[in-house]
């Protein structure tokens, strides 16, 4: 009895105490974490005046330009102000990492969706904040060409058509009398439909977010905080915060989660330490294209096939969440939803490929996102170390000049006989017309090249319960499998060490088994 009590006192009770503490104590827990409810929402002033009472607006308007003229009568300086913005110019000045200034924009930068706007403005300008941008002769100095309504319509009825003009049959008077601060649907009308359809381009920005649940996007959720785009993309004098890194080279004017959330928002120290290496988006956007599919692949090289001499379209299901579609004008594309992002190191800088650059490697990457593990540990810019970001990678195959090794701007939009590919289906004529329009040489010999573009995912943030768990990266099936050059616990192993270790343990077990068998046998004799 005394012995049992002693064993209890010396071994059992201390072990229970020690291991309960080991199991229960959580040194990782932050006692006073950041309180999300204390975030100050951007307070948007109510409209200072009721525009429906303005005599200037109480009439019917025959064109968009007439509406703009009415706007500018009161808002006398806003026009000039707006004409400095990218929404108007489709160009901006940016700087490279070596300090060199560059001018970038849709004007001079190709992509791997519809390739480029030059010679195709007639159609592309449906998303230009202006009226009459049908070709390169558009007057960028005439402020009455500004389209105020695209962003400020609050009726939800405004739509743009060819050359950026309002669609036929709109009640422009009613729209003008009901303007206000931009709403989600104003922004999404263009930014959600880039690349030729809803969610085609970004994958994380689409019409579903005009009215969605928290599962789709915690920020834009109608059943949640219901934020407007401009709450994050803060705007002063029509100049907006935020970049798209397919047209941006420098780490400037970026929007960031820490505008509202702190740099240490978690209840766990270890998770907060991850802030040094991991962008918030990486864990908090576990999937994208949650509602409608996005385009992940566009092969222009298969275009130009006919069915009984006629152009045709075809859709084939690949899986419950993906399908391929073919059309004679566009070639083959793959649309996918519920996608897992890919991951890259990124420090806010990118190298952008323009129509003047030579192709030196395939796949050709339009926007090489800069960053590495090394740049995280010893960053060039101490305040902006490389972090791991989630991206949608758009892959494509498109026309290039075989001799000059440059990308070709094909002419796609136009009537029959104009050389427009979607009318004539002739790559050579399309290339010749497009390059001539752009003022760049075309050798006459073309081929198709594999291309990639990287779209950083910032929207469709999931509720915190759906954020990635540790195992998403710290496991053999790591999402970061493609990010090499650093040791990631749980993901990485040394094959030689692993095999030696297992062989060693097998030998130990065999040794023990053999020895004990011999002992038992020798006892029996």
């Amino acid at each position: 009895m005394k012995k049992i009590i002693q064993v209890f006192l010396v071994i059992i009770i201390p072990e229970i105490v020690i291991f309960s503490l080991i199991g229960i104590i959580n040194p990782d827990k932050i006692i006073m974490p950041f309180d999300n409810t204390k975030i100050q929402r951007v307070v948007v002033d109510s409209m200072p005046a009721d525009h429906s009472k303005f005599a200037e607006l109480n009439k019917d308007f025959a064109s968009g330009k007439e509406v703009t003229e009415a706007c500018l009568k009161c808002h006398t300086n806003r026009g000039k102000e707006f004409m400095h913005t990218e929404h108007w110019k489709w160009l901006k000045q940016d700087s490279l990492m070596n300090g060199k200034k560059v001018i970038l924009g849709k004007e001079n930068t190709p992509n791997n969706f519809c390739i480029g706007v030059n010679s195709n403005e007639h159609h592309c300008s449906e998303c230009h904040a202006g009226y009459g941008y049908g070709d390169k002769n558009f007057d960028f100095t005439d402020q009455t060409n500004i389209d105020c309504l695209a962003c400020h319509d609050n009726t939800g009825t405004y739509r743009k058509g060819e050359d950026g003009e309002p669609k036929e049959g709109l009640d422009l008077g009613n729209i003008a009398r009901n303007i206000g601060h931009p709403k989600r649907e104003n922004c999404i009308e263009c930014h959600g439909k880039g690349g030729g359809g809803n969610n085609v381009k970004h994958g994380d920005l689409e019409t579903a977010q005009i009215s969605c649940t928290r599962d789709v996007d915690v920020h834009m959720a109608s059943d949640g905080v219901n934020m407007e785009c401009t709450e994050c993309h803060k705007t002063h004098n029509h100049k907006m915060t935020g970049n798209v890194y397919t047209l941006t080279t420098s780490n400037a004017n970026r929007g960031s989660c820490t505008q509202c959330h702190t740099a240490a928002p978690h209840k766990s120290k270890i998770l907060n330490q991850h802030f040094q290496q991991i962008a918030c988006q990486t864990c908090h956007i576990p999937i994208y294209a949650k509602v409608n599919p996005t385009k992940t692949y566009w092969d222009w090289s298969t275009a130009g096939q006919f069915d009984n001499g006629e152009p045709y379209k075809e859709i084939d299901s690949i899986s419950p969440t993906s399908y391929s579609k073919y059309s004679t004008g566009h070639g083959t594309a793959i649309m996918e939803s519920h996608l897992t992002p890919e991951y890259v190191w990124f420090n806010g800088n990118a190298k952008i490929f323009t129509f003047k650059d030579k192709i030196t490697e395939t796949p050709l990457v339009f926007n090489k996102l800069q960053g590495s593990y090394d740049d995280n540990i010893h960053p060039r810019d101490i305040n902006n170390p490389s972090k791991i970001y989630p991206v949608k990678v758009m892959r494509g195959k498109q026309i290039y000049d075989y001799n000059y090794k440059t990308l070709i701007q094909p002419h796609t939009v136009g009537p029959k006989g104009s050389g427009a590919y979607w009318a004539d289906f002739d790559w050579d004529a399309s290339a010749r017309t497009g390059m001539e329009y752009l003022g760049l040489p075309y050798s006459g010999k073309y081929d198709f090249v594999n291309t990639e573009s990287y779209w950083i995912l910032n929207h469709m943030v999931s509720p915190k319960e759906d954020a990635l768990s540790c195992e998403s990266c710290h496991s053999r099936e790591s999402r970061l499998a493609n990010l090499k050059g650093f040791y990631l616990p749980g993901r990485d192993k040394n094959a030689a060490l692993e095999i030696s270790g297992i062989v060693f343990l097998i030998l130990v077990v065999l040794g023990v088994a053999g020895h004990s068998t011999l002992r038992i046998l020798s006892k029996k004799h």
Partner: protein, 359 residues
């Protein structure tokens, strides 16, 4: 079969805490390494960290204790008997041979164990602690050639983990090679190890010698010569043992199958324990208290005990002398006797000692 006290309280506490910590660390560590999914990476990391901090604390405590008590000497590797021990595990154990080395409180490990524990305590565990600490605190800042040191650090840590798992398997298996398969494990729980009578006697005698040595700081054999030969392996300088440990140990000895007696300077018994009475139960002496120490001994033995008594009263310690008991049925039994003086006010106040049955 007899039981001998081998493992002190702190040793048992430390051993089992260490056991559970190593198992916890291995279980969570290999989960963190990605070998399997069990409690989830996050929980595994938290538990691994907690267990690691606890283990670091325990290791400090153990090393403190080892160096304070001089017990570290038991871990110093020796070549003595190492081949005998190898031969035993490879051959003798299958042929019912005896262990070539005996286990005592002061000499717990055979030479192979000494080597293994030395490697464990002074090479593998420090490696694990150092790499673990580097991993915890400097994972991203240490450079190594062209890469980051986290990778080689992690792999050294993992290699150590494989070694430790192998060690645990061997260790658990070898506990079954004691007197009975579970003897060693029971001993590590209760402190008392089951042994054959012969082994127990050796162990108890060793323990008594050590006790005598601590109190006397020197040892003499029955002939009155100094005898340090048995302790030069590891314990010859063992002189600063704490008093508290001695008292504890003395108690344990009395609880063993060892007779204890205390005789004052006038040669009168003042105390004997139950084992003593048990051993003498077949003689006509039932209660020696108040009687002369010579009791019923015949001439030859009388001379031996008188010699022992006079030597001890001069301050010497006597071990291993053989003395006979005369049973009422006419037979004789023998026991070994070890004795040393006890002190009151820094003066020798009498003789106390232990007897172990030899019959």
């Amino acid at each position: 079969m007899k039981k001998v006290y081998i493992y002190r309280r702190f040793e048992r506490f430390w051993h089992w805490t260490q056991t559970l910590l190593i198992l916890t660390l291995a279980l969570t560590g290999f989960e963190i390494h990605g070998s399997y999914h069990l409690m989830g990476f996050q929980k595994a990391v938290l538990v691994h960290d907690n267990a690691a901090y606890t283990y670091m604390g325990l290791i400090l405590l153990i090393f403190f204790w080892l160096f304070l008590t001089g017990e570290w000497r038991q871990y110093m590797p020796t070549k003595r008997h190492i081949l005998d021990q190898v031969q035993y595990y490879l051959y003798g154990i299958f042929h019912n041979e005896e262990h070539p080395t005996k286990k005592t409180m002061y000499h717990k490990f055979n030479p192979l164990q000494q080597g293994a524990y030395f490697a464990l305590d002074f090479i593998i565990l420090p490696t694990m602690v150092i790499t673990g600490a580097l991993y915890l605190f400097f994972a991203d800042s240490l450079k190594y050639h062209n890469g980051y040191a986290i990778e080689p650090i992690a792999y050294i840590h993992i290699a150590g983990a494989f070694f430790l798992v192998g060690f645990v398997i061997f260790h658990v298996y070898l506990t079954t090679t004691g007197y009975k398969p579970l003897s060693a494990i029971k001993a590590m729980i209760t402190g008392w190890e089951e042994m054959s009578d012969e082994e127990a006697e050796v162990a108890v005698r060793e323990n008594i010698r050590m006790l005598m040595k601590f109190s006397q700081r020197r040892i003499m054999n029955a002939e009155g010569e100094e005898d340090n030969s048995m302790f030069d392996i590891s314990l010859s300088e063992e002189i600063d043992h704490s008093k508290a440990m001695m008292i504890d140990f003395q108690k344990k000895l009395k609880e063993s199958n060892v007779g204890y007696f205390k005789i004052n300077k006038d040669g009168i018994y003042v105390e004997v324990n139950d084992v003593w009475k048990e051993l003498y139960s077949k003689t006509d002496i039932k209660d020696p208290i108040g009687k002369d120490y010579r009791l019923n001994r015949k001439a030859e033995d009388r001379k031996t005990v008188e010699n022992i008594f006079s030597q001890v009263m001069k301050g010497k310690t006597i071990t291993g002398s053989i003395v006979a008991r005369y049973n009422t049925d006419g037979t004789k039994s023998y026991h070994t006797i070890s004795a040393s003086p006890y002190y009151e006010n820094n003066k020798i106040a009498g003789m106390e000692g232990y007897i172990i049955d030899k019959s």
